[in-house]
Subunit: 353 residues, 2 copies
């Protein structure tokens, strides 16, 4: 590693404001500049408790802008009883679907004037619990939890006494607001599409979920096959990652019953499976077709482009933020389930138009 | 959108702690439980100013754990003069390299007990400047800026009077600590590798950077060709995105001089180019070889797997966090340049072993 030590240049790059040696701008400076009392400055900065005439507020805002005044955030938080910050716990930022979701949550929070404390769990429950405790101790106004578990342990959150919304959560969670998608209908539509291409042996590459229940995607796959009078294809379970998909693809290639199509429970898994198929010299979709679930941007650039069930990440993020810090306080818990859309590309057997 | 309204169940899911109707646990409660004064509780929570005997500290920590005490973060921030939070400004979270970098920064900050306020600029300078102002007003202890510009306007940061480190910044920035990689050497090594495969017409797919200078990657491409006595191949400029690369690939396919190899300035662009080549029926690497720059995980799962110059994201993130909040205060500004490594896969023409 090369270390370049630079002597700071004293030229036009240094702004005149930074050059002037003076302390930080105070509320008093703003009041003097605007010709109002310091109390009025407080009312403007804290948006209350007293109302300020629009013309006076404009003068104060102008003074804040000109002087570069930054109100003391900690003092403001003490007064408002709010840090104007929300915490987001996501299971894995390396998964493009979750980075998309995190970005959407940030945008939705920013629209309401809230900043986002982001934490990653790296697929690790211990890290997730530590992140939740950490956010609670920082007194965020609420937490949006996208857990590594399909059925997270909510006792922690209840005892932390912190407003929480579960995101990317497709099961009911009594006592909590939650936002998810219709996994069952989404998966069923993808498998029905593969059946429409004439496939009769359709494998399932499923992610690993702790918990004593059947994932909606697995149920959707099964229901589509049952309704079409088809037998179950082979099932492999692997991590929700590219590497997990790669291993799943190799196992499916070695399975006794060779599928002619595969439904993967995430884009990441499908991308790993496609690498395994390419390496084995199988043509996609002619030898083996594939469809997946998530709708990340990456799916548009695989070869061939991946047919996938798109989750409405922006709408889900907005709903979660709104449930957490929106105007309406929730007396009852609500479970919002968004519909998905099938994005048809070429990995399923459809041709480019 | 289906709305499921659930009546909260009153069963074992509700934790006994949450059921008990009591106010929040106070410092006084902790002091009583631990059998110490409230001042001692403060010393433990604020890690000072007075030292507490290890046995006493253990008693206090135990009381905090048992009672679920959460110190008031705003009050603590006022007292410490620190929010124990840093801000990160990244240009685009949709780019896997930057989500990798953000994740690495979060981990490095967490190790030092700092939380991360994450903001995205969406490639937009106006949004970047708003994000910086917003972080400054929240009194983060410092900002790590990965700008949308190769030469960001630092006057804003200087006037905001906030500690800043520039990340993913490969040029010198007088007055600022910065962390980057050796773009020139990295790009040169990739192009030399393509030359080693016998290519004599090597195109450059370059990202668009505002500013009156030549990007190190472009210089490295040029230098490798010059040293080998080869003519310049065609150059296309496009956005640092998959879609930008796709358009660049289509333009290279239509160019008067057909390259037999392409060096792309980012993995994302290479992924878009590969889609254009596949669609045109060109074989990679036999018809056209390709190498790129970044080293995101996605590059490992393209078809064929992408040869790319890997940036050491974890080490860069750690260095940036350490320069910002590490023990040593910087009198002079330092510019840290990390070396890259060429990850050889198959898109360049190398075969799998």
């Amino acid at each position: 590693m090369r270390r370049v030590l630079l002597i700071p240049k004293m030229d036009s790059m240094t702004s005149p404001v930074a050059q002037a040696t003076r302390g930080p701008v105070t509320r008093k400076d703003v009041a003097r500049y605007a010709g109002v009392s310091t109390a009025v400055v407080s009312y403007v900065v804290n948006k209350g408790p007293k109302k300020v005439a629009p013309a006076t507020e404009a003068k104060v805002q102008d003074a804040i802008r000109v002087l570069g005044y930054r109100p003391n955030a900690a003092a403001r938080a003490l007064k408002l009883g709010s840090t104007e910050t929300i915490g987001l716990v996501i299971p894995d930022n390396g998964n493009p679907f979750f980075s998309l979701l995190a970005h959407a949550v940030e945008d939705a929070a920013a629209e309401l004037g809230y900043a986002l404390l982001l934490t990653n769990s790296d697929g690790n429950l211990t890290k997730e619990r530590r992140n939740i405790r950490n956010l609670a101790s920082r007194q965020v106004d609420g937490v949006i939890l996208s857990s590594v578990l399909m059925e997270p342990d909510l006792a922690d959150l209840e005892s932390a006494d912190i407003r929480t919304v579960l995101l990317n959560h497709s099961a009911d969670a009594p006592g909590f607001n939650s936002v998810g998608v219709d996994l069952f209908a989404g998966a069923k539509s993808a498998v029905e599409h593969l059946i429409g291409h004439g496939h009769t042996t359709i494998a399932l590459a499923m992610g690993t979920n702790a918990g004593n229940f059947l994932d909606g995607r697995e149920q959707g796959w099964l229901q589509a096959l049952t309704e079409a009078g088809l037998p179950e294809g082979p099932i492999v379970r692997s991590l929700f990652t590219r590497a997990g998909g790669y291993a799943a693809g190799q196992r499916l290639l070695a399975s006794a019953i060779q599928p002619t199509a595969i439904f993967a429970s995430s884009d990441m898994q499908a991308i790993g499976i496609m690498r395994a198929l390419h390496e084995a010299g199988r043509s996609i979709p002619d030898d083996i077709a594939i469809a997946a679930f998530d709708g990340s941007e990456e799916a548009e650039y695989t070869w061939p482009p991946l047919t996938t069930v798109k989750q409405p990440a922006q709408a889900m993020a907005k709903a979660a933020v709104s449930a957490l810090i929106g105007g309406r306080r929730n007396v009852n818990s609500e479970h919002l389930i968004f519909p998905t859309t099938l994005q048809v590309r070429q990995s399923c057997g459809c041709r480019r138009i």
